[in-house]
Amino acid sequence: MEALDALLDPFRSGIDRRALLEVALVGAFCGALGFWVVTERLAYGAESLSHGLLPGLVLAGLAGTPLLLGAGVGALAAAVLVAFAARDERIGPDAGTAVAVTGLVGLGALLALAPDSPQRLEELLFGDPLGVSDPDLAAGAALVAGGGLALAGLHRPLSAVAFDQTGAFAAGVRPALVRAALLALLALAIAVAVQGLGALLVLAVIVAPPVAVRRHTGTPSGAMLAGAALAVLAGVVGIEVSFHAGSAAGASVALALCAAAAAGAALPARRE
């Protein structure tokens, strides 16, 4: 009973209850979205986007505007810059993207470490789930509702394009539009999730769940639901660990997610 009592402790503190709610909301959507991100091999692009939006976050902190707005604008600017840098065929898309993203992170750090900057850089880099506001939670809830609806509506086109792009085109699906919609959802998810997990750790909640469940589920829907459930669970575990061990909350959640991914990859695959 005492062990159960200890597990319920975080739910009694207002701050930790909000943190639990935040990681659950973000995990529920990102864990499902991640299936398509990994299927379409967009993990590197997602990482670039999440790191590259740092200047937008810092500028929003400096200007006192909502971080969500800064994250959204920052992600958009990063996407444009990365797309531009990746086009240089002389060095290849990987190198171009790496230079662009490193430059953006450097710019963000420069701004954040300026003497007049009030916002602490480490919160933007590593997240602060314990510091989420009511609007942050509202944004998380809106992400789950709106994003979930979008994923449900896009399910058949996403499946058709992932399976056979030309065949999907012949059936009237436009792969470019479907991918653009997926990227828009990804940018939105990163912008919302970056509040709790920070620019450096947010990718864990998108990529780790599908990696963990991929070999153990039989359908796209199954992988999405399992990924969402696993992300929520790992988020709760991370907050629990942080509460009892006094570790950094964002980093604890990210590590719980990555541990789940490692376990899922190591376990023998499901046979039918």
Binding site: T39, G153, L154, H155, R156, P157, S159, A160, A162, F163, D164, T166, G167, A168, F169, A170, A171, G172, V173, T217, G218, T219, P220, G222, A223, E272
Partner: protein, 267 residues
């Protein structure tokens, strides 16, 4: 892209040129096929067969010339161009053909599911509906992709090497469905590597980066045309009669994995 269904050709190309930004990979293509006709597209690897299909689907914009297709054509890909690791069943794949009828944002309706099951039945895979696509044999996968095209219910079907390397039972079943589709007045464009199989078609289109011939098989499949189409890939077996038993190297041979000669010991 669309033409009236009632009269005129179901597929029509005039002076078609296509490419991927650089020099054209296909030029001077002019042919037509009527409803109910089956056209075999012959040519070597890189001859332009897939490029022609991508133009007819509308995925690739022609660099020049005219193309008309009656309605939105269905496409049957080579199975190796699909994602075998993607977790979908045979029924899921057949249902993808229903996307052509709109309402893509909603789950499949009962009628769509019924159409997909009927299509799987037509290709002889009713009992495999729940099996993962990646776990089916090559011939079965090809039949599932054909079922997807049947669900799409198109006037024109484009099939990219549907008979390459599949088991005889699958080939027979696919051939029977081809006959049914022709009887229904649908037009088939079937790309192939196999010269012998082209003899059963109404028309043959020979491509080698340009149009070499467009004629009924009796006229298109002479030795000079085939040499112009395939170049050194052509092998003529038992050469007594005129153009008898003509076949070509299969593309698998061109990049076979087994290197001839002994391997060094201990390597």
């Amino acid at each position: 892209m669309s033409a009236p269904v009632t009269t005129g050709p179901a597929v029509f190309a005039d002076g078609l040129t296509a490419g991927y930004g650089g020099p054209p990979v296909l030029r001077d293509v002019s042919f037509k096929a009527a409803p109910g006709q089956a056209l075999c597209v012959l040519g070597p690897n890189g001859g332009g067969k897939t490029t022609l299909f991508r133009v007819l689907i509308g995925e690739l914009t022609p660099a020049g010339g005219q193309v008309e297709v009656s309605g939105r054509p269905a496409y049957v890909a080579q199975t190796e161009r699909t994602r075998l690791d993607f977790p979908v069943t045979a029924l899921d794949v057949a249902l993808m053909g229903a996307l052509a009828h709109g309402r893509w944002w909603l789950p499949p309706r009962r009628a769509e599911r019924a159409a997909a099951r009927t299509a799987l039945e037509r290709v002889g895979l009713a009992d495999q509906a729940g099996v993962r696509f990646g776990e089916l044999s090559g011939g079965q996968r090809q039949r599932v992709l054909l079922a997807r095209a049947l669900v799409q219910d198109a006037r024109v079907l484009l099939l990219d090497e549907p008979l390459a390397g599949i088991d005889p039972a699958s080939a027979a079943r696919i051939g029977a469905v081809f006959d049914e589709l022709r009887a229904e007045g649908r037009t088939l464009l079937v790309s192939s590597h196999d010269v012998e199989s082209a003899r059963s078609f109404d028309l043959v289109l020979c491509l080698h980066r340009r149009q070499v011939a467009f004629a009924p098989p009796a006229r298109a499949l002479d030795r000079a045309t085939l040499e112009a189409t395939y170049g050194r890939e052509l092998i003529v077996l038992g050469g007594d009669g005129p153009a008898r038993a003509v076949t070509v190297q299969h593309h698998e041979h061109a990049h076979a994995r087994d290197e001839p000669g002994p391997r060094p010991p201990g390597g």
